[in-house]
Structures are given as C-alpha cells and as structure tokens.
Symmetry: C2
Subunit: 416 residues, 2 copies
C-alpha cells in the first residue's frame, strides 16, 4: 500500500480564519489513484515545526504533499525550509522567471525583487510549472524512492498542478493498486436501527472490506471501502454484489448511490422525465436555487428561482395574497403554499418548491420561534406543505430548511 | 502560552468525502479564549493510530480536542481507545441513558442495545451532557494538568458542547492570556507590490507581532497577530495604532477590517444609508442572493433575488427584450444591463446586481468560451456593465463571478 500524508501550512488555518479545502481535493486525487491518505494535518508558518512534521510524514508515508507558504512575502517560508531539508541551494529557474515577468506585465504589475524571488527554487527539485500563477510547484525525490511535493496554496493553482503534473508523475513513479469506495444512501432509518437491521450482513463482510456509517439529517450513507486492491474492477463488482444484498434487507430505504445528494437524484429524475422546476425562497435566500444550479446541466429543467425576501416581493412577484400575510404572517402554511403555487404559475414549471421561515437571530416569537420554517411543494396534481423547526443558528437553519424542502420535493416525485 | 492540538477522526475526511468544518469552529473558539492551536490533524478510524496521535498531541500541547467516532456503530472506536489510554473501565451513565431513551422515543425510534452503548463512558471522565444528540462529550484530566476532550462529530452537537461545556471549563482550568488577531482588507495592490510598499512598516513591527498576507481574488488581507498577551486590550490598541500608520502608507487601498467580506461591507453601507438591493442572477444561480441573505439583518435592505435561469424567465419576469436575447445572446452586455434594470424596476430597490454567463462545462463557443460572464449594476443614476473571464470550473466560475459582481456594486456604492 502506498501511503500519503497531506500537510497544509498557514496560521490562517490554525486560527480558524479559513476552511482548508485544498487537502480535501488532494485527498480525492490521491484516493482515486490508489494512494491511501493516512493523515492530513495543518501547521503554522514555523520553520522548525515544518521540518519536524516533514520528517514524521516521511517516516510514515511514501508520498508527502505540502501546500502553502510559497508566496513572495516574508511570511512564506516553505521553500527555504525544503531547501534546508534537502541540503540544496537556491537557484533561479529561467523559465519561471520569464513566466512571472510576462504574467505580471500583462496585469500591469511591475516585476520587482519579491517577484524575482518566486523564481528561486532548490537546485535538487524538479520544477512543476504553474501556468496559472507565479509560484511554481516542486517535486523532490529521496534515495529510498519517497516523494515530497510542494504546491502553492491558491486552490485553483494547486488543483491544476495536482491534475496536470503531480498525478501523472505519481502514477508513473509508483506501481499503484486501487482504492475502491462505494457509497449507498439510505433514508428513513436512524443510524442505530439501520445498524441493527444490517448486523448480520455487516458481520459477514469479507476481510479487507470496511463499512462506515455517515449520518446526516434525514439520511445515513453507508460506505464500503477496500484499499490497495490489485484488481480494482473485481473488487468493485464484489462490492456491488454486497450492496445488492442490502436491497433485500432494507427494501424501500435505499435512495441512491455514491455521493449523490437528494438534489442530484432530483436532477437526474427531472431530466429523465423532461419535467421542470422553479423555486420560491424566503428564509433560505437562494440556497435551494444554488444547490440545483451548481450541477452541470441544471438548465435543462431549472427555469427560475425567486428569492422573495421582502413581503412586497412575495405579493407582487409571486402573487401571494397580502391579506393572508397580514392574517397568518409571512411564516405560515398559507403563504408557503401560495409562494409555491405562484412560482409554478409564474414560470410554467411542473414543480415548485417554496420556503418561508425565521432564520434569526431576531424575528422569533413564542408562537413562532427562530428556526420555524414552512415549506411547500406545488406539483401538477396538488400542493403539500410542512412545518419544520430547523435549529437555532442562522446558517444551520438555512441549510436544514433547504435540505428538508428538497426532500419534500423528492418525496412528491417518487410517490407511488 | 497554552497550546492545543485538534484531532478529527474519520476515514471520510481522509478520502476527501467530507470537508472538515469542525476543526475550524474549534480553532476559533480556542483562539478567542487565548489558547494557541499548534496543529490540527485528521486521522482514520484506527485504534493504534489514534493512540499514537493522542500521545504525540499530549506531548506538544496542554489541550487536546478530539471529535468523531462516538456513534453507536462498529466503526466508531474513539471511546474505547480513550478508555484504554486512561486505564479506565466503561460504566453506564444513568442520566445519559435516560436522555438517549427519551430522545429516541420522541422520534419514534426503538431504544436498542446499540443506543444503550452510547451511555457507556470511561469511569475516569467527566461527562459533558449533550442536550442535542445521543453521544455525550467527555472531559479527561491527567496528573500534569493536561486536558483531553472528546466530542461527537455532528457539527451542531459539537458546537453546543464547545460553547456550553468545554470553553467555560478550559477558562477556569487554565490561567489564559489573550491571542489578538486583527485583519485589514486591502484592494487594488497585488501581493508583491503591497509588500514592497509596506516593507519599512513591516520591518519595524514590534517583537511578538506577526504579519501575514492572505491574498484572494481582488483583495489581499493583512493580518497582525500577537499570541499569549497578558494585557490583550493594550495589544489591541497597539495593533490599531499600527494599522493607522498603514492608512498613511497606502491611502485608498484599505477597504475594511476583520474578516468582513465585500458583501459585509455593502451590508453595513446599505443599512447605514437606508438603501435597498435586488439581484438578478443567471449563471451564478442564487449564489449572490445567498451571500447577502446569509448575513443576519439582510432583510433590512435585501428585497428580492431573481434566478432567471431560463431565457423565458429573463423576458417574462425581468422584462428583458426577447429580440435582444436573440440578437446578442443571453450572455451579453445588453442582457446583463436589462436584467439589472429589470430587477430594480420590479422590486423598487435602489441598486440591483445582474449576472449572465456560461458556467459550463458545456455551452461555450470560440467567441464566448466557458467562463465568460457579463455582470451589471443598476443604480439610481446609471447602469454599468463589465465582462470577466472567470475560470474554467463550474463552481469556480460561479464563485468568482459572484465576487466580481459584488465588487462592482461596491465600487458603485463608494464612488467619490
């Protein structure tokens, strides 16, 4: 098994100022190629800590990928630390220097000493040319065949270098086997009941196939993983077979495969059926529209979304009855229903989702506390509405209400 | 200085199946209280690796926070590993057992053996009662005063336990100093030019005050950090003074403080001025509306958003001229302008943002490749429009186009 450690560098990660998504993307790349990530870690811009961590990473894994700390400024120290570790001196890479100069001049930026320093690289490394930014990637090999790769922390640049430079080299450097992960999405059984129902099946799983439970609101994902498989295709087939057995054990609770979200299942269904969707959102503020339009091909069915935040917008655009807002409140079954029906009418869509709720932190009352959300789905035959209490934190309320509303549509679409 | 290590457990993190946001939130909590996170790491559901990592974390830091692996199923092994490390046997916590039973029965779930196991805790720990879920938190102290805390991996439950149980205990257990971080947002100077301009100021920073550059599209954040300060207020004042000096060095390039995004600056401006906003989105699909409505208080100015994905919606809801869509294409200056003006007219808002572009992966042409986005801002006095090429990946195009369009509004709002 070829193992990897991913190291992300930057004080901004340790103080919680940014969310580290680089390591997620790198982990995906490595896994797909059959390299097993044994640890991911983040440390500060601190030379002794970087050195010590690289040594430990190297001792536990054949591949070490390190991102960040390659900028032109004084807080960027990764490159010099790597040079020290590999007993290497720094030299200017002519191609990189020329690229940096051209890139900056195009943007009307003067090429200065700091930019020139970006073209300095340890002389023992292979430069991974960064077409999309000024900091080059670097590839180091040591005598025992281990590989250390240093990449810039800008997600877009890191991503291109991983895809175009790092992965092809790793695949030719190592003889890799396959890591197989298959995920099944279940719905309607909480984790403990699901575990009880599938206990015998779980106990009979073959050696080397590992089961993980990934619970989320309303769904539990079951992932089967098998690492370092010589014949990946055979393992995939074996895992498909195991999943088929599950169908007989928990019929009616399996809603999809892989990382497909409920919106992805809806996406496929609507395209398959040639039907269309519109959305009318109040408290979810565009989140539901975003989730659908984030998927390539959404324009085949997604006609429009209305974020009717102000009551006037609910009335003038969606045709909600102003008297009903007055009588029942904007957060009410009546208004949710009229929003969904209004969105359907306005767009001509087959289905429409609506949400109206109190995302907080203010605006709640004893009767309708923060987190109260009414959601409705209008379909060709009927309109359904439900109320859910979706938590206390604004972001959480928006997320959960979006998930519930999308699930409500899914239920309508798959009703027998 | 009190140091901390954050450990998140779960194979799903190592294969890149989920983004670890728990450690971000924990890092924020610790930092605010003056505890310095020296390392954050993620490892798999593997007992020897957990033991070995806990030992290392303990050697380098007084506080170790570990999340995940506390569920009722077989892949959850954190609790038993902790019991082994602390030479502790497991006993049933009556209050937790009762809570789990009540919680499940309310949801119509049968209390089974697996759930009962959730009430088992190592006998040497202090139970941190989880009002929002079934897995309790656990607090361990060792002879030398070090603290290890185990928390469930469900973000919402973890968050409540950190806030209500862990932070108050840490504050009383340790004598804590302050970590001071202040961030200034600059715009219009790329990182290397900024560094050159402020070099003297940077070199003269007092000992213990560290500068970090955080570049992002169109802005560079400058963060000054001072750790473990006995008098936090005095340090804050000193850093404010240092930032004031920057004003004289780079006048006109400072757009805000702290983690304020451009949308947060607009949020404040519009509320202060009593003005309103509407949004008309095509390719950004609700992302711009989401960014504004994610902020508490957005309802004071955010009137509505229209996600006019289909051309018919652009025409029928926003009043875009169908002949212009035919003549210039949906992705054109003319359509972007008409969308912005239509949203303003429809909602009565003072300002409106519009986007129309090709998010890909298909739909591009030689003349308008994937990533081409037209954006417009309509204001009381004029409508401006610009075209940007925003990358190649769908998610990136949506994010960048949203950022550019929001920045265009900010420029209009702050024009002298």
């Amino acid at each position: 098994m070829i193992k990897a450690t991913i190291i992300t560098i930057g004080d901004e990660i340790l103080i919680g100022q940014i969310v580290d998504t680089n390591s997620v993307s790198i982990a995906k790349h490595l896994n797909r190629a059959g390299i097993t990530v044994v640890e991911k870690l983040s440390i500060g811009d601190d030379a002794p800590k970087i050195e010590q961590t690289l040594a430990r990473a190297h001792a536990q894994s054949e591949v070490v990928i390190i991102t960040g700390g390659l900028g032109p400024t004084k807080d960027d120290i990764t490159k010099h630390t790597l040079a020290r570790i590999f007993h290497s001196s720094m030299l200017e890479d002519k191609a990189v220097a020329e690229h940096v100069r051209t890139m900056l001049e195009k943007r009307g930026i003067k090429f200065n000493e700091l930019n020139r320093s970006q073209a300095l690289v340890p002389d023992c490394c292979t430069v991974l040319f960064n077409h999309h930014g000024t900091a080059p990637g670097m590839w180091f090999e040591d005598e025992d065949g281990g590989v250390t790769v240093s990449l810039p922390g800008v997600p877009f640049e890191m991503e291109h270098l991983m895809e175009d430079e790092v992965m092809p080299r790793l695949k030719s450097h190592f003889s890799l086997h396959a890591n197989v992960h298959r995920t099944m999405i279940t719905s309607g059984l909480p984790e403990s009941m699901l575990a009880e129902r599938i206990e015998k099946w779980e106990d009979a799983l073959p050696d080397g196939v590992k089961l993980a439970y990934l619970p989320a609101p309303n769904v539990v994902r079951l992932r089967l993983s098998a690492y370092d498989q010589e014949d990946g295709e055979a393992t995939r087939a074996r895992i498909d077979e195991l999943f088929k057995q599950l169908y007989d054990i928990i019929p009616g609770h399996i809603v999809g495969y892989e990382d497909a979200s409920i919106q992805a299942l809806i996406h496929d269904l609507l395209i398959e059926r040639g039907q269309t969707l519109a959305v009318a959102e109040s408290c979810t503020g565009g989140e539901i529209a975003s989730r659908f339009t984030a998927m390539a091909g959404a324009s085949a069915y997604f006609l429009c979304g209305i974020v009717a935040y102000a009551n006037e917008a609910k009335v003038s655009i969606l045709g909600v009855d102003a008297a009903d807002i007055e009588r029942y409140g904007a957060v009410s079954e009546q208004v949710a229903r009229q929003m969904a029906e209004g969105a359907r009418r306005l767009s001509g869509a087959d289905y429409a989702i609506a949400t109206t709720g109190i995302a907080g932190p203010s605006g709640g009352s004893a009767e309708k506390p923060v987190g109260t959300v009414w959601m409705a789905v209008a379909s060709p035959t009927e309109t359904v509405a439900v109320m859910r209490a979706s938590g206390t934190d604004r972001g959480q309320i928006v997320n959960r209400a979006s998930a519930y509303a999308i699930e409500l549509l899914y239920k309508q679409l798959t009703r027998k």
